[in-house]
Amino acid sequence: MNIIRTKDLSLFYGSFQALRDINLNIPEREITALIGPSGCGKSTFLRTLNRMNDLIPGVKITGQITCHGEDIYAHGTDPIALRKQVGMVFQKPNPFPMSIFDNIAYGPKLHESLSKPDMADLVERSLRGAALWDEVKDRLKKSALSLSGGQQQRLCIARALSVSPDVLLMDEPTSALDPASTMKIEELMGRLKQNYTVVIVTHNMQQAARISDRTAFFLTGDLVETGRTDEVFSMPRDKRTEDYITGRFG
């Protein structure tokens, strides 16, 4: 089952075309890795999936993206409802400058009003979901900024989970973390895919190979190749993919 499908998706920053006719399906409850050199459009593509590119002036999008069969760029689609459904985790951990509890409660407060115990329950569930609960349960009122980088990133994952999305977009979520924190997040992603669909942008080939089920290779705005990760990393069909993943490429 594909949860997200794109059809001839093109994106322009002014007159610059950043994505060219992308046709990519994202299967449900799998991890899809987007790889490619810097500036290839993978992050741009990721950000079209929850309409984060709307915030940039001068962006024009053609083609179609559907999520659960619905055109997310159709007139009348509410980007706010979409972002509740399609959560996002960023490259640098970006907890808000408030308490751990308030960080998690921030999203739910936007969409519904919960009683105190319900909110406490939701915060706990979200933190458990991101494998952070045991580490922070005694200091929920402490500033989120007092956490380590890896914990902050898991907090951001918990924050994304708090609004119960179907899809998690991750934009190089471990590139600012040390190896141990990276491994924890990778481990977590393996568990997350039982309930969520994950799309991750990564520059780390080994990471893509380790954690993802499918890999899509982008180059200068084109989707060059997509397939099962095992296949892409052992027997890529396209010479450009081979050159990139083996590091023989500028």
Partner: protein, 285 residues
């Protein structure tokens, strides 16, 4: 690489270091000298009566209580007007305005406004608020309106700087959770930049405390005691700085002037301590 620096370079370097010590020394000495001199001449004349009564021609006593109150009223009123305007303008310029050229133009105008001598604001206050708006005579309200225009650039600029220091990552994080722009600004941006905004506000208050030229003809020089805030707004009244000027020029009373100067110095000192405390408090989260 054990070779030592050449003599020429050592002399040059030594001279520069000496010069820098000298410059710092002069600056510190001047500052301490001025403060010391003011306090030396002024502190002796500060009495309980001086602080808690109004000036009385009958009893021939000098008191600055009304002027302290006026100063506080003017600061409060000015902030009431200028803060929402200034912060609102800064938020618009930083978060909403889409046209970069328009923003740059407005910022340029604000820069210009900040560079205008304050006497010109006083003139505008007289011409615009008193004559054109029909307020007829100087009052604390007119003074506060004039000061609002005067400190607006400071508030806009410092608020903008504060907003700019909020990482873009916070904005993205909030948007990604489905926050609307205003909600994001209210819950993330403003709290995160409160530190800088408070700093800018204190800076503006400092300017108000020190201002005389713009207030002389707009707020007036009265010294009758009016304790009711709303009544006071409509009364002409001199702030501490204005009165300092008045006591020297009209009465030649340097003792009172230095006493007022000492009070002003103490207020400024308290303000600075206040800023430090507020910032420390805000830093905690």
């Amino acid at each position: 690489m054990k070779r030592r620096l050449s003599i020429k370079r050592r002399v040059y370097s030594g001279a520069l270091t000496g010069f820098m010590y000298l410059a710092v020394g002069i600056a510190v000495a001047a500052l301490i000298g001025i403060i010391g001199f003011v306090l030396y001449r002024g502190l002796g004349h500060i009495t309980w009566e001086f602080l808690t009564t109004a000036r009385s021609a009958l009893r021939n006593t000098v008191g600055i209580l009304p002027n302290i109150l006026y100063t506080l009223y003017i600061i409060f009123t000015t902030l009431l007007i200028a803060l929402p305007l200034g912060i609102g303008a800064a938020i618009y310029l930083n978060e909403y305005a889409a046209k970069r050229r328009l923003v740059r133009f407005i910022e340029f105008v604000i820069e210009l406004l900040a560079g205008i001598p304050s006497i010109i604001f006083g003139l505008i206050g007289v011409l615009f608020f008193i004559q054109a708006m029909g307020m007829r005579r100087p009052s604390l309200l007119v003074g506060a309106l004039t000061l609002s225009i005067l400190v607006l650039p400071t508030i806009v600029r410092t608020t903008q700087e504060a907003l700019k220091t909020v990482p873009a990552a916070y904005r993205e994080g909030a948007f990604a959770l489905g926050a609307t722009k205003w909600y994001m600004i209210r819950t993330i941006i403003l709290p995160a930049s409160a530190d800088g905004i408070v700093g800018g506000t204190i800076l503006a208050v400092g300017r108000m405390v020190g201002e005389s030229a713009a207030l002389l003809f707009t707020a007036g020089m009265g010294y009758a005691l009016v304790t009711n805030y709303f009544e006071a707004l409509q009364t002409a009244g001199g702030t501490l700085t204005v009165m300092l000027f008045v006591y020297i020029t009209e009465h030649g009373d340097f003792d009172t002037a230095f006493a007022i100067a000492s009070v002003l110095l103490i207020i400024v000192l308290l303000l600075n301590i206040g800023v430090k405390l507020v910032k420390r408090r805000l830093k905690k989260i």
